[in-house]
Symmetry: D2
Subunit: 441 residues, 4 copies
């Protein structure tokens, strides 16, 4: 099987009705339903967490679950209610400081590394905050005229996508925090057994002068635009992401001890961090185990390797005589591959009816796949106007693009043009490896 981490099942409860296509033919009842669904999905995720669980922060890059719940709420309050709902009563003026993440245009922020020190407001008050904003948002949507609706819908949908991103972050951040607890807390039910992994193959992809980037007739982030031409040579892409068994072979052949396989910065990183396996792996006697949100368990050799840095992905590829695909290659390949449930008429990704993972050609929803491309603006990129313009553009340095979505990405939030980005050293996301190679290589 290529079951992925059990976190999958939790998030797959997601929001089946959230239709990104509403961009064009939005109506208020659809918007209401989408808003309600996404917001409820967040609350469902945190329902089983204690107050202490919700306040954990294990490193500056991660945030407490409570903070995610408040910050996503702050987003609607700040960018929509305060500006577009006359008479809106701000829930608590201090929240503008506490729950602003990085929007310098909005004002100062509480220091990111200390979010775990915000014991007050407590989860109950954050719950009230969410209800307060939800009520105001619902009223706003109801009372919008047709023209205003078309006007505000993009910003509301941006807020919903923003919240979906934080749903995934909430899960990855929680996993990171829990992993420090020697009791290996189980938060989710273990995933059931899946299919065995299918036969590996290299798939030929034809290049040429192709289009890259998302279509602008439905929702996407500003960094996916404009759709533009790019020249791609013919290449091959792996039918599956790299499995744990394959990665173990790399380790067994001294992969972490051979500098010639590593980027110079990666080699420096494993010396400094003493990295010698993917994150969350640990050895009990002779056997490798890993920590998941359903607790610790033995490694399944068939599941995709996950929680590796770009450096590890690169070194593995070197060892395997292959390379990572570029962003453009990945996007092109995903269009030519057989992707279950994707590229239906709606142009979006529907919930998978069952454990299709492992079906050859499946490129979405298992692990985020590191690409060889640094996160950079597309030709002609324009950041969105106003403070929301800080959403994406200012991070275009030092990070690498990941593609495909993970088991923790909410349904309806995955699309072929989606660009996720993290630093090469980051491992706490559900990040894995898909190999590529030059045609004729």
């Amino acid at each position: 099987m290529v079951t992925t981490s059990p976190e999958a099942d939790v998030l797959r409860l997601g929001c089946p009705d959230f239709n990104q296509q509403l961009w064009q033919d939005v109506d208020d009842s659809l918007l209401q339903a989408s808003y309600r669904n996404v917001r409820q999905a967040t609350e469902k995720l945190t329902a089983g967490l204690s107050p202490e669980d919700q306040n954990l922060q294990s490193m500056p890059e991660t945030s407490p679950a409570k903070w995610h719940r408040a910050h996503t709420t702050w987003f609607f309050e700040t960018f929509i209610l305060k500006s577009h709902r006359p008479g809106y009563r701000e829930f608590d003026p201090q929240f503008a400081y506490l729950f602003n993440s990085y929007y310098n245009g909005i004002g100062e922020q509480f220091p990111r590394a200390r979010r775990g020190l915000i014991s007050r407001p407590d989860i109950e008050r954050v719950g009230h905050y969410r209800q307060h904003v939800d009520a105001a948002m619902s009223a706003l949507i109801s009372e919008l005229g047709e023209g205003e609706l078309q006007n505000l819908a993009p910003l509301i949908i941006l807020g919903l996508n923003h919240e979906q991103q934080h749903q995934e972050l909430l899960v990855t951040d929680l996993k990171h925090a829990f992993s420090h607890n020697p009791g290996y807390p189980a938060w989710a039910e273990p995933a059931g057994a899946g299919h065995r992994r299918g036969k590996f193959s290299w798939r030929d992809i034809s290049g040429g002068l192709v289009q890259q980037g998302s279509r602008d007739d439905r929702f996407c982030f500003d960094n996916e635009l404009p759709r533009h031409q790019v020249f791609v040579a013919d290449f091959q892409i792996a039918s599956h992401p790299v499995s744990c068994g394959e990665f173990l072979a790399f380790m067994d052949e001294g992969g972490y001890q051979r500098p010639e396989l590593w980027l110079a910065d990666g080699w420096e990183w494993i010396q400094r961090e003493k990295a010698c396996s993917p994150l969350y792996w640990f050895k009990t006697g002779q056997d490798w185990h890993l920590y998941t949100l359903a607790g610790a368990r033995a490694l399944d050799m068939d599941e995709p390797v996950c929680h590796v840095s770009m450096y590890e992905a690169f070194a593995y590829a070197q060892w395997a005589g292959a390379r990572l695909p570029t962003e453009a290659e990945w996007e092109l390949a995903s269009a030519q591959c057989d992707t279950p449930g994707y590229f239906a008429d709606s142009g979006q990704f529907h919930p998978r009816p069952g454990p299709h993972q492992g079906r050859p050609g499946q490129m979405f929803g298992d692990v985020w796949e590191w690409t060889a491309s640094s996160y950079a603006p597309y030709p002609g990129f324009k950041a969105a106007a106003g403070a929301v313009g800080e959403y994406n553009g200012k991070f275009m340095a030092n990070q690498m693009v990941l593609r495909g979505g993970s088991c923790a990405t909410p349904n309806g939030h995955i699309r072929p043009g989606y660009r996720n980005f993290f630093y090469p050293v980051d491992r706490w996301q559900f990040s894995g490896v898909r190999l590529a190679r030059d045609s004729g290589a």
Copy 2:
């Protein structure tokens, strides 16, 4: 008035019945009562704290309140129940790892800097842990024969004193964590108004070949022994600790900008930390305020300056043309001063009937007073046998002794020979300054 911080009132609820003299003529009912009182005092301290509050850790040196509650319990379980109560059932084997602070003789410890990541066990389970251990301790004491009682009492009383230390740490650690919250959480009621501070004077203290150290016929820590001879020259000591108003004068005369007033390491410290006032002070417009556990309030010029490092204490003394007293001087002075409520027949410190702070000569229970003495073994010092020998001795490097007890020190836990110790840079304790000078200076 020389009111001290409002934290005082909380802790002064302490444990009036805990008679340290029971060392010699202990009986089981007195021991039971003392045990119950001290243990309940801890729970009273944390009663008003939410689960998130109890899990805060703002720096490696501090611990979450929940951790303090569990660690003090672990102490009884580890050093008494496991060894001396046959058939005792360990509450949870993992706690031996989670709640060991630094006793290498007992085994490995959960990393200190990450105590705030232990969301599980939650506070309810820690409550059960306390009850489990309390029941076993109560049964143990009841069932001890006379001889065994005399045997075990010192260890039990050590455990109670250990818990009292953690009561104070719990308060100081909480204050530090709360201080990062821009809402300035109020946890305690503000202290009522007290007397104005009395007239300052220098008090002459006669030296000679005197005894230093605690008497060994009642409880004290191993580091207070053996009582030994030391030669002290005549000197003078201040009638009051330095007040906020006095410290402000130092600041106004450029105290933090004049290297000639500072120890070299202290000067380096203020450059690095950009320290320019005591901890928890902040300026609102032209006025100085401070954060207390009863919230933020304006500075009272008469209250003792508090939360200063030894470097600040030293620089202030230099500026004032005086110096810090040595440990031996401090101890000698405290015996010659008029100390309300102290040195009664019982040889212990009784709860003060009212706001006597500020009465000249009062040397106990306001602020810990930095001495000029590094924390070192007394001549002939022997660490206690076994793992509890790690309690004190191994910290005898790089730290300075503080004397006198603070407003956060539980009653019954203060005595003239008590040696507290912290690094010169530490400021999150209730640490203040009392000046001394050479006779004839």
Copy 3:
């Protein structure tokens, strides 16, 4: 004038006879002459430096001049003499450890950050090392047969280009070290006055499906290959690099205080480093000065701004309503611009007969120009075989490409396809800014 730093004149003494085209029709006398010229140029650079000057290392990223002299020699000894000259006597076995920079394939390396601690061998012995290797190289070249010559020439020419790179680094590293000396040591003669800067204009560049990368029929580094197709949209490029006067306007309008102009990592960098001007700028009273290798002098408003990080370049471009060009754009523009002395029949850059800097369209030899492109492999990139394969490929992460060559780049070492690369924070190279913008912007 757009005089650049006075360092120019020193390096422009370079090696006029070093013809990179010899790749194809190399003969031994030409190779001998090239070898001699390049090697002598290094010695000329360090002739005026004292033993202490030659041993300075001011940060881990820089190396002492003496080390550069020895390391470039080690390159020839290690990759050519030891392997291809039977009977070659190694000068000193320890040098293999001391002067290996980062070639893991060759063995362990002396720690990079401590190169300034190698007082022994002294400069005299390093001089002997150079003579020893030069004699052996000269004999080798003389005695090579025609076939062997064709075989070894690429490696020898690589060694010469390697040495030219280190000539520039030697100068930049020395400048960084000297800048810490309050006496502002002058090492070179000030450059004479040049022309005033010409009129600024935007130049239209036509895009399309174009070729990127160097031609493989003459020398280039492996990272410039393979020449490949890339699609570039029409764009505009600035006629001149940004001048000091223009950059000062950015500073005067609060450029360093406005987060909206900066990449997130760049904003974090200026907070951390307290950067508020280009490196080597300092203010005397109201006037800006800069440190050059000819000593300190007043800023010339017309000269290109230099020693800026990519973050500063990016922020400037944001402020100016423009952007940095991509690598492909830069390379395309340089082919369409009027580049004095370049693109002659030989396809290489000849020494400029005079101070042509500042002539509109001049894109080579003033300052290295930050591009918007991260340093990544070209499609189909293959690292050179063997240990020299570590030369370029392993650095393809986290760095940005700079193009064009600086005043400190030796003549004959500049070409349109040349890819220099540094981290976004690096400022000690002669790095400047040329703006681009979308057509129709």
Copy 4:
């Protein structure tokens, strides 16, 4: 033999004629001779060092030899010539900034960690600086009247003692720098073979109310005063410092792996530094070697262990069932022990006629011996007036006292009351261990 490091012979060339007693009956010819001798001794030390050698700085705590030569000269220029010699022409105004070590009263200082970046002035110019100041000092002394001589002599003698301190630092700093060179530079001749170490014994020392501190009728530093009473109990002291063979036994029994032997800060230190032997020890195959200024050689089991931190000294003592002596104990013991060549009429330490090291009771001149006492002011301590008051007093925090002088301490600079001080982690001084224990232990 208890030969100490070969550095001994170099420094033992010291200044036999420098009579500290001249304090009282100084005359100008004696002062001239002393001045000349001490100043020449510095130059003799550096005579064999290359310009690069003299500019090495391997950590912020150490300084280049050239800097020591200039700084000691600056001391005379600043504190004597500028103030007391009208018409004195300052050699170079920038030197006041470059060569001030830490005297805030004099003005700003060049950053200590970057002293190794001062390639200019070169050694020749520093030589001229020394000659310039020496000539002025000589003229000053000649022309002083009797009264002025008595007045200035203490400051001149302070300057000479200051220079002697820097002679030792110059040697220890050079050793530290050279130790990073894999060629193990030899700067001195190896010491000849000495006696074998004599039989170990514990010596009984009678305590009581004794005097501590130096006599004030001849030169000493301000920190050795005032001589004062202190009570010391009877104790025992080891006849010899701990030998390398003894220390090896500690290592072989897992000394570096047993936390119970270490101070908490020391345990943290060895984890952080991965310390597992004294500094400069290294293993070749199965055999321990050490680096000395005469190059690397095999360990001699009889020689005193050297270059250990206070933490290692403490852990060794714990392991051996003993402890470190306090300062007062050490001073008392040295007076009761048979100290060859010491306590002659002159009250000073004369050059040892031969290799007396290893003679039981010898407490001076082999290794600095860590005491259990932190560096603190003596009761009644007054820092010297003016900027020279920064010499000692401001370092009285976080450091420990060492006693006895090392093989690198110039003759004439050792006395029983001498207090050296370093941080507990410091190991680059010639620091060793002498054990003590309580009487009856």
